[in-house]
Structures are given as structure tokens and as C-alpha cells.
Amino acid sequence: MDILHHLALGFGTALSAVNLLYALIGVLLGTLIGVLPGIGPVATIAMLLPTTYALEPVSALIMLAGIYYGAQYGGSTTAVLVNMPGESSSVVTCLDGYQMARKGQAGAALAIAALGSFFAGTVATVLVAGVSVPLSALALKFGPAEYFSLMVLGLIGAVVLAHGSLVKAIAMIVLGLLLGIVGTDVNSGVERFTFGIPELSDGIGVVVVAMGLFGFAEIVLNLQSTEKREVIKAKLDGLWLTKHQLREAAPAVLRGTALGSVLGVLPGGGAMLSSFASYSLEKKLARDPSEFGKGAIRGVAGPESANNAGAQTSFIPLLTLGIPENAVMAMMVGAMTIHNIQPGPQVMTSNPQLFWGLIASMWVGNLMLVVLNLPLIGIWIKLLTVPYRMLYPAILLFCGIGVYTVNNTSFDVMQTAFFGALGVLFARLECEPAPLLLGFVLGPMMEENLRRAMLLSRGDATVFATRPISAALLLAAILLVLVIAVPNIRRQREKAFQEASA
């Protein structure tokens, strides 16, 4: 009965007038941003983080979480109606959603996306609530050695599942860790890598890094192409599902929810991975796979449920272990830190209202999305007709004001521009910025746990291998690297052989 008691506490918090309002603002802003192409959830959260400083921590987190799943939702709306994924997690929704819209079934596609997401959101909320207590209890038994190894596993896991070069991704993590420790060292009081700049003695702000790497760089890269964006419009006639469609879609929703819930918890998982995995699962299970890509409702129902489930269960490692598993969760760490909450297993006991309130608000937010957004679809589509040449200066403005008001200093704005330039350079070198952000937020924690573990073991580094939990975590990390690295090596050798024989 504990879980009911906890959820009651959570709903008590989430259903207060103030928090309902912030959840509403969050999902609306999130949907708005999700609809607009070219700005992802990380940049959005970075942009809006400063506006939450004045709020109570729980309201701030509720609003930011609302932005995250609102963005998923907005992304699918445009995927169905105009064949444009507003977010990377709705790329696969374009495939069949837009085809359904062309066949005059846009309403059905949107309805199943909404209902599937809501169902997945409900299941995921219960799952988060149920898993959190035992997982936090386990995490509280962790010493510094276990924590250090857990962070290694989390970081490695996050890059193994991402695409691109593994070596580059690990190097980006290390660079992130390094940026994370800029500023005054808590143990010795020494200022590190501040170049004598007083503003850097408190470290680099997470808003600065995220906004530069994800917001500004994205805009610059979008402006590299001179193509004109065309907006195609599909007609929307009523939101209805036939019985046949519902019967067709229901099992896909169930499978998508299950798959998304599991993949969401894994490091590097979350909404995007879940939606891709669900699409390929549905295609494999279909009696007639050739229907996919031509408007199969299961190709919409599965991924849409999966991405929402994944978006929510990715909160589990953050809330129970304090380890963010993707860039959006890294932003949530930033948000919690700004509100003086150290993410980790202790949050549940030290801040139960915040913890359970946030979880309950996930369900409330999902309900809001279903109830409010369907009638608002017309407005979202109108927004798409705003040309990019007007949109990006406005985004720059909101970013600029947002980052300036963090500390009321021009230096932060300059720093953000610097990270924007760095982001462009990384994109040119095909280095993904997400691992850097993860490393950045974990940097100080990782150093601290390494220090403490080594202090306790009197400088004996084998402590990480002799303590069983720590050893298992490290072993898992090594296995992950090997699994990825080995086929990589093989492929490259094959390539080399092919060239040699040619």
C-alpha cells in the first residue's frame, strides 16, 4: 500500500493550482517548440531554465518535465500533418503517419498517437513510482567506489547506444568531464582552469554549455543550407478511429509501451531509441510488412507509445541514482542543481513532495496533452507557416535574454557564443555534443567519488575491481565497449581488405 500512499502525496502536490498551471505552461511550451523544427528539447530546456529560477523547485521541475513530453507530442503532430519531424523521436512517425494523412486518415493517426501516448504515459508513471523505491534503497548502499563505477557504466552505456564513432564519443565525455571541473575545487579551494577570469570561479553554467552546443550551433548549421523550406498541408477532418483501426492498433500500443518502458531505463535510451526500436519490431511482427511506409496504423501507434514511455522511464535512473542517461536528463540535473537539490537516491527521502509530485505530474501532463492539444492542432499548424528567417532571430533573442539573466552578466552571453562556435566545429568534425553534456554534469561528482574511494582504500586502485558491485558495473561497461568495438574493427578490416584487393 506504500505506493498508493506515495502517489497520494504526489497527486496532492501535482494537483495544487500552482503546479497544475506550471504543468500546463510546460506542456504548451513544449508542444509549441516540438512543432517548430530546428530546436530540440535540450535547447528548449536551456532557453526556459532561467525563467524557472524564481519558482519553487517542484514547480520548476514539473514545468521542465512538461516541456519534455510536450515536445515529443508536438513533434508527432507535425510528423503526421506535414511530414516534418519536429523532434528526432518522431522521425519514424513521418513514415506511416504522413501516409495516413495523405489517405485522409490524419485524424485517426493523431488520435491513436494521442491515445497511445496517454496509455504509455500512464503505465510508465506507475512503473516509475513502483521501481523508484527499491532502486533508491539499493543505491543508498553504494559507496564511492560503486558510485564511480556506476557513472562509468552510465557514461559508456550512453555512448554505446548512440550512433557515430565510439572513440570520438568517449573523447567528448572526457572533454565534458574536464569542462565540468572548471572553477573552484571544493576540496582545496584552488581555482582550476579559470584563466584568472573571476566569472569562471563558480564554474561554467550548464545553461551556457547546452544553449551554445545545442541551440546556437543548430541555428548556424540550419543556415548553412540555402534550401527553401516548403510547408505542405494535409487536411484534417475529425479525430476518429474506426473499430477496425482500434483493434489493429491496440496490440502495437501495448508492445510499444513495454518496449519503450524498458529502453527508456537503459543508459543512452529514452524517447528516440524507443521509437525506432518499436517501429522495426512492428514491421517484423506484421503479417504484411509491405504495408509499412504506406500508412500502417501500427507504424504510428507503436513508436508513439514507445517514445512517450521511454521519455518517462528515462527519469528512473535520474531520480533514483542521480545519473542522467541522456542530454535531456542532464539538463534536469542542471535544473535540480540550480535549485540546490543534489540528484540521487536521497531526494526521495529528503524531498518526498518534490519526488512524488514530479512523478504524479507526469500523468497529469499526459492527460493535459490529450485533452488540450487535440483541439489546438489548428494553431500549431499555423505556426509552421512562420518562415525560418523570422523564427531563428526570435530563438536567438530568447536564448540571449535567458542566458543573460542567469547571472546578469554579459560574460555568460559571450561564453554561450563561444560554445556555439565550438558546437559548429564539433558538427564539422562529426563529434556528437550529447556525451559532452553528460560528462559535463557528472564531472564534479565523478571526481569527488574517485577521490573518496581512493582515500578509503588508501590509494589502492584495485578497490574498483575487488568490491563486487563495483566490479560488476565496470565489467558491464567493458563488455559494452567490446560488443560495439569488435564488429567495428571487423568491418574496418574488411574495408581495408577490399581496398587492398581492388
Binding site: T51, A54, S165, V167, K168, I170, A171, V174, L175, L178, I181, D185, S188, R192, F193, F216, V220, L223, Q224, T226, K228, P387, R389, M390, Y392, P393, A394, L396, L397, G400, I401, Y404, T405, N408, S410, D412, V413, M414, T416, A417, G420, A421, V424, L425, R428, L429, E430, C431, E447, L450, R451, L455, S457, R458, G459, A461, Q492, K495, A496, E499
Partner: protein
Amino acid sequence: MQRIRNSKDFFAGALFIAIGIATIALGTRYTLGSAARMGPGYFPRILGILLIVLGGILAARSLQVPGTRFAAFRWRPTLIVLGSVVLFGAIVRPLGVALSTVVLIVAASAASHEFRPRESLVVGVLLAALAVGVFVVGLQLQLPIWPGQA
């Protein structure tokens, strides 16, 4: 001399090596301590070494495994976008939000190949009104609206 077959990986590797070396060089000023009692220089030293190793792997591989070439790069939008942000940061306090917004919007709009000066001025004025309304009046952020209020 071997040919570079993947210039993206090569330059990425070189960048990581350079940052690694700089980290170690700058880090010599911080006490290293011992493994049991790590000083402020210990962890950065590990990270610096890791960066050099990883960068080295990337650079070495770039000599063997071919990759894609760099796409054409347009400096103009890059410099205008980032420059207009820097400019905004510099003038927002002395000039106030209203004027700085107009300056930022017009300057940043020039980065687009579809730049329309008059349109951007109108957008700038509208957004200035919105920014003042939302951020200064609504959210009560400590920002001057007009010049000389800071």
C-alpha cells in the same frame, strides 16, 4: 608521409590531443597529490592523458580508414549569428532590452539568404515589445528597458 584518409577524424584527433596537452601543461600549477590523497591536479591529469590517448587513436585511424570529406562551409551566417549574440550581450545593459532586441533581430536576420531588412525591422520592434512584456513586466527580471536605466 602517409596520406590522411579521414580528415574529420584527423582534425578531431588533433583537437583532442591539443586540449589534452594544454590540460596537462596548465595543470602543472595544481598540486598533484597522491593516489590516496588526490590534489586538485590529479583528476585533470588523468583526463588530459585520456584525451591524448583517445585523440591519438582517432588520428592514427584516420590514416588508414577512409571517411567522408568536409562539406562546404559558409562563414557569413556563422559569424553573423554568433556575432549578433555577442553584440546583444554587450549592449543589453547600457542600451536596455527594447533597443538591443531590435539591433539583435535585424543583425541576426542578415545571416539568412532570404534577408529582408524592412521586414526584420518590423519583427524586431514586435519582439522588443513582447520581450519587455514577458521578461521585464511579466517575469520581473532585472533588466533595463531603455538606455541609462542600468
